[in-house]
Symmetry: C2
Subunit: 333 residues, 2 copies
């Protein structure tokens, strides 16, 4: 019997379809294949990107030369521009702003054909440290209200280059989805005097059915009202509204859970395209009591990419309980 | 210079990218190709679908036999089920409902390899009449709160069959997007005492830059804060919150604008996959003063399908003014 389920944070209903229930091998999966040829993110091509903003590299190497293990550069084709003035204006009845902001690329490794699921755990930690370092630096710019950190893996997920990288877009506005999560979790807090995400973590731990990975500091699960097959959230157990409060121990725990979850998705769906995004508080720090940062991972399986774009309504052909079972069955090496 | 633009109804900011600006031929377009082989929607295969609910057919033909020009059948693999009881319940802290609802297929023509852009205008009108007839019938069921009418064209837009068809899903809940539009337009009304969509129509008419098609009753334009290249809205000029108030004259006008817009998209983007969806009031009829029904068309171009799924944030590499220009340049036969 199909079921309608409501997301407890943003109140979005989805249809969990059973008539159309699918297993991982039922999907046409646009597998992410290895690529060869020139890549601006490879060793030796450092001069083909804009100069690096941050690099983790041996002390005896020059900037913009090989040797680095993490490298952050401005996006060569930025969606927003930090050289222009942040300015609001009207266009007739409409509201617009100059496209001020930061758009950076976090090159996760010099190794062209790997990915976070397969990397050494130390390297995954370094990626997270790079996220935090750039987050901290950019959030000091008082014109910036939100820092989006996300990853597109594979062409079908929007990545124009295959080389492992994440992106950071910092904006003078707060994206709609963040506003929705903030106001939804605030409403829950004003009713219950508890954080909705903390409650979800407790519920998932006691149910167990949707849990994929867990350690001392983090839990990964398929959300109750998952929009997509194998949609997975990673949530810190310690209540905090902002990613940038992460501790050294938590970076280690987070990288372990992240790597394992991505490995399970990699194996279960055969290296599918995916997106992930850090959901964190605005730079103002609002939501200390009621908001809770987390990471949302969305694999991109083409034949479930239906009318959701147009309608904002989702039909998920894989109940999250089953998705969790498939992902748990994958053996971690 | 990139620009941030805000949707005046639901307040979603998008980035209109200029550094990444693209023309129609820059996209990898997953062209919708003709198909052959068995199709349950072809003449002679009527017995392979569930029995028809409605058909426009000559009086001397039997139900579920050839001769029809429009045929409506229950979806054989429905996302929701109208045979079960509509019931709400809790699952721990979560909220769920039995998957009650209607899921129907509107077969738009017996002709397997055509589409609305190429059909005879009379046939397009008949499709709209079928929408209205099913809308009216289903909205009488008091358990139903919203009737979604939408179309997936092409496999990459979620269509599992190529034969021209639309879908109707009727639900005991109101989809999040509809709630957002209702509350956004209500807020605008309480501030301005005018309908936001009526204001948009006037603004678009006076600007002209984003207009694609217009006749006495309807206007089609690229929205100011378009999320996607060639995203096009068709809005009735007469204020009405619900599609089912459409008059006979308006059906004629709507079908003309719809066919022409889809033809322009068909030509400009070489028969791309697309989704469209009727945005209309809930069956309760709320929003009479402030809401305004319309149709949103979203072509699906693969390499702009990026991180939007995960983030709810959009980067549009084709300014809507340019998209409108490309679409206007297409010659209507």
């Amino acid at each position: 019997m199909p079921e309608l389920r409501k997301d407890p944070v943003i109140k979005r209903w989805v249809i969990i379809s059973t008539e159309r229930a699918k297993r991982p091998h039922d999907f046409v999966k646009p597998k992410v294949e290895e690529t060869t040829g020139f890549c601006p993110f490879d060793y030796g091509n450092e001069h083909t990107t804009p100069p690096e903003i941050l690099a983790f590299r041996p002390a005896d190497t020059e900037p913009n030369t090989p040797g680095w293990w993490i490298r952050v550069v401005p996006n060569k084709f930025p969606a927003v521009d930090n050289q222009i003035e942040s300015q609001r204006y009207g266009v007739g009845m409409f509201d617009a702003m100059a496209g001020f902001g930061y758009h950076e690329i976090i090159i996760e490794t010099p190794d062209h054909n790997t990915n976070l699921a397969l990397m050494d755990i130390r390297q995954v930690e370094e990626v997270l440290w790079a996220y935090k370092e750039r987050y901290d630096a950019i959030s000091k710019d008082t014109r910036i209200r939100y820092v989006l950190i996300f990853k597109n893996h594979g062409r079908d997920a929007g990545a124009s280059l295959q080389h492992p990288h994440s992106q950071l877009i910092a904006l003078p506005i707060i994206p709609k989805r963040a506003i929705e999560e903030l106001s939804g979790s605030q409403e829950y807090y004003s009713y219950k005097e508890r954080c909705v995400f903390c409650d979800i973590v407790n519920q998932e731990k006691s149910d167990g059915k949707r849990v994929v990975e867990e350690n001392d500091d983090f839990i990964a699960f398929e959300p109750f009202a998952a929009r997509f097959p194998c949609e997975t959230w990673i949530v810190p157990k310690r209540h905090s509204n902002s990613f940038n409060t992460i501790t050294e121990t938590e970076v280690k725990s987070f990288s372990r859970v992240l790597k394992n979850v991505l490995y399970r998705i990699y194996k279960a769906l055969d290296n599918p395209p995916f997106n992930f995004m850090l959901h964190t508080a605005p730079t103002s720090g609002e939501g200390k009591l009621y908001y809770h940062w987390h990471l949302e991972i969305v694999p991109r399986l083409t034949n479930v990419a239906g009318f959701e774009w147009g309608s904002g309504f989702y039909i998920n052909p894989m109940p999250p309980e089953e998705a969790a079972r498939y992902l748990r069955e994958i053996e971690i090496p």
